[in-house]
């Protein structure tokens, strides 16, 4: 039975550190884990937690998102009531537009938010990857009667972790919470993972106040700046979550899922991860192929060598080709005797015979969509 909780995924995300993969697509539809897009994880987590009504705050590059989500059937969100709704910035020819931030998109859709049937909302982003059951957090949020519950991850020995620099940390002082940036000075701290459970009435009030004031253009900052006005608490999420804000985080997260124990958690723990169906046939391993410690999607033909890599659907790896420590997106062709190491190769790329491409584990070499290297 469904839950009294409306999902809102805010895609007004910063993309400047992952620009290589977000030229033609929003961060939400960056391919991940061999057959998924980033947003699949958050959508599936919500659906598996019983949330059957989800709104997406959409900023730009609509085409990729529409293409991926379609009528929402793959997530069982093609519903008569509730289901998936995309909230676009609504532009009047006579207004002065493309204002900065996501608040203008929220403003364009105030009628939608006001009409929501649920009493609580879960506001998240698409770029935190995990397999999360939101129900325990929701139950505690309701039981405690919180206005806002901030979901957090507890970090120990965090001073060494450069991957956490610049992320949101939450602290309690004199009874009120504040959220700021991690500059690497603290060792033990709580990370805010940009997931907020809120009473719908509180969400609407914050949104209305922010629009009336007309200063703050970002929804997240609007909430953070008002934490002291409300009954706020935190909830510590106890499962692994991979934040993806940069190309390095993306690359590291990808290699993390080559660990079968991590994969078991990510793909199955609280429910499956749903994505757009492609109807790809089996993957054919030719005699002479050699594949180790790799995740391979359907529809591929593997004739060469693959190691520590992730291969998406409908990729062809030719005879004698070698792919190591790399990520190859769908419909790409790696011709015979080509040799790749530490590369991220986007969709519809053609790598010619014998070509050698070497990136670095710290800064992988990204080959952009549709490129042809002959």
């Amino acid at each position: 039975m469904s839950i009294n909780l409306q999902g809102i995924i805010n895609l007004g995300e910063r993309e400047e550190y992952i620009r290589e993969l977000t030229m033609n697509r929003p961060l939400a539809t960056v391919p991940f884990a061999g057959r998924y897009r980033l947003i699949d994880f958050m959508l599936s987590n919500m659906v598996n937690s019983g949330i059957d009504s989800i709104s997406l705050i959409v900023k730009n590059k609509f085409h990729s998102l529409n293409d991926h989500i379609g009528p929402g059937k793959d997530w069982d969100l093609d519903r008569k009531t509730g289901g998936l709704r995309m909230l676009y910035p609504d532009l009047e020819p006579d207004s002065n537009l493309i204002s900065i931030g996501d608040i203008p998109i929220v403003r364009s859709n105030l009628a939608h938010f006001a009409s929501l049937k649920k009493d609580h909302i879960l506001l998240t982003r698409s770029n935190y990857i995990g397999n999360i059951d939101f129900r325990p957090a929701y139950e505690e949020h309701v039981k405690k009667g919180n206005d806002i519950t901030v979901l957090t991850r507890r970090i120990r020995q965090g001073r060494m972790r450069i991957d956490l620099l610049g992320m949101d940390i939450i602290q309690k002082r004199n009874g009120t919470y504040s959220i700021g940036r991690n500059l690497g000075n603290q060792n033990n701290f709580d990370l805010s993972i940009e997931m907020f459970l809120m009473k719908k009435s509180v969400f609407l009030r914050i949104v209305h106040e922010t629009i009336e004031e007309g200063v703050e253009p970002y929804l997240k900052k609007a909430i953070i700046s008002r934490l002291s006005d409300y009954k706020v608490d935190t909830y510590t999420v106890d499962v692994d979550i991979l934040p993806i804000h940069s190309i390095q985080q993306y690359y590291n997260a990808s290699l993390t899922i080559l660990d079968p124990i991590y994969a078991q958690y990510l793909f199955y723990k609280n429910g499956k991860i749903y994505t757009k169906v492609k109807d790809a046939p089996s993957t054919l391993y030719a005699t002479g192929s050699e594949v180790n410690n790799s995740l391979i999607a359907n529809g591929c033909v593997i004739e060469g060598t693959v190691e520590n890599s992730i291969i998406f659907r409908d990729v062809h790896i030719g005879r004698g080709a070698v792919v190591r420590n790399s990520i190859v997106f769908q419909d790409t062709q790696i011709s015979s005797r080509a040799n790749m190491n530490y590369c991220i190769i986007d969709k519809f790329v053609h790598i010619g015979s014998g070509k050698v491409l070497m990136g670095d584990g710290g800064l992988p070499y990204v080959i952009s969509k549709g490129a042809s290297i002959r």
């Binding site: 109807d279 391993y285 291969i311 998406f312």
Partner: protein
């Protein structure tokens, strides 16, 4: 809603008992095939790719796996308003309940369903065969030749013709006689059990056949011969390409081995004629450091820590460390324990082969597992 010119009726009620444990708990059309499909996916995908949007599926034997698989028809884009795919089991009327007594009787009992769509033609199909066919071309041939009935035929080797239902034709492919398993075949055109009928004509013959106490109510034995006897124009539509009735454990295994030939005629990698199936929402497959795979097909959710040769691993099947799987088929969610050795073995879905178990002599085919529920 537009009325459909063509309604397809898929016969999917058969048990297929020669498939032994594969069909103890599920109907033959729901049997897993080719690593990620079920047998009926081929016929259903042919309908979808041929632009046929009204499809009735006649079920009778153990339909739960089939029902769950087909659901609302989403994978084939057959979740249609006022049409799409409809499951048609036997039912009770004021005269009491009747099981389907034969292929023709199954259609007879669903005349009302077909009439709902007011079709010009009815396409009778079997849910048991592995092939790709554009039914539009067959219907166009039927129209062009002004036939009353068109039967799809395939050339078989003369020496095997006596195992099939053979259609004897004149030079212009007009059928004048149907010969069921003839001792001395006059022709080598075998019926594929695929028919296009003008619906008005078929309805008439179904009603007459229903009244005939001597009839077995079968298309091949009763309806086709009777229509020929009455002098209607019946055409043979020649099909060439891959076509298999995987009715026995041997032919089932062989058809799988055909798929390992990269140039096999079924051409599953053809993007223009995809075979659709229910998606199981599992991740890509994983091959570990110790895993080794050669000349094999793998699917989503598989995990390989051992060795796999000349085999087909269906969705979410697992080969543990040290296990060696050769010339074998693992059905979905099958698991081969550590150190087990399999040759020419079919492991039923959800069955677990124990650690160090040795199965198969490499000669005859071994079936591992008592029965296959067919439900994933």
């Amino acid at each position: 809603m537009i009325h459909s010119k063509v309604v397809a009726m898929i016969l999917a009620g058969g048990q297929g008992s020669r498939l032994k444990n594969l069909t103890r708990k599920t109907a033959k059309p729901a049997v897993h095939f080719g690593g990620k499909y079920r047998i009926i996916d081929f016929t259903l995908s042919n309908c979808a790719n041929s632009g046929i949007h009204s499809v009735g599926i006649l079920t009778q034997y153990q339909p739960l796996a089939l029902n769950t698989h087909i659901g609302t028809g989403v994978p084939w884009d057959l979740d249609r308003k006022g049409g799409g795919v409809e499951i048609l089991p036997p039912y009770m009327s004021t005269e009491g309940g009747r099981w389907y007594a034969g292929t023709a009787n199954a259609i007879f009992e669903n005349i009302d369903y077909i009439d709902l769509h007011q079709p010009e033609y009815v396409l009778i199909l079997s849910g048991d065969h592995i092939y790709k066919m554009d039914y539009r071309k067959m219907v166009a041939f039927h129209q062009k030749t002004k036939a009353d009935v068109t039967v799809s035929v395939i050339e078989v080797p003369w020496e095997e013709a006596s195992r099939f239902g053979i259609l004897n034709t004149k030079d212009d492919d007009v059928i004048y006689e149907f010969d069921e398993k003839p001792a001395n075949p006059k022709n080598n055109l075998a019926s594929m059990g695929i028919y296009v009928f003008n619906w008005k004509l078929l309805r008439r013959y179904l009603r007459e056949d229903h009244k005939n106490k001597e009839s077995t109510h079968d298309f091949g034995s009763d309806i086709i011969p009777e229509i020929l006897r009455q002098g209607h124009r019946m055409m043979a539509y020649r099909f060439s390409g891959y076509w298999r009735d995987v009715g026995t454990v041997d032919s089932y295994w062989e058809a799988h081995m055909d798929l390992l030939d990269p140039n096999n005629e079924l051409r599953l990698y053809d993007d223009e004629w995809k075979i659709f199936t229910k998606n199981l929402d599992v991740p890509p497959h994983y091959i570990s450091d110790a895993g080794h795979v050669e000349n094999s097909l793998l699917n989503e959710g598989c995990e390989v820590y051992g060795t796999v040769k000349n085999s087909i691993l269906s969705t979410s099947s697992v080969v543990e460390e040290g296990a060696v799987v050769t010339d074998s088929i693992l059905l979905p969610y099958a698991r081969v324990g550590k150190g087990a050795v399999l040759k020419k073995t079919i492991v039923l879905s959800h069955h677990k082969v124990q650690e160090d178990e040795v199965l198969g002599d490499g000669e005859t085919i071994t079936l591992a597992g008592a029965y296959d529920m067919g439900i994933l």
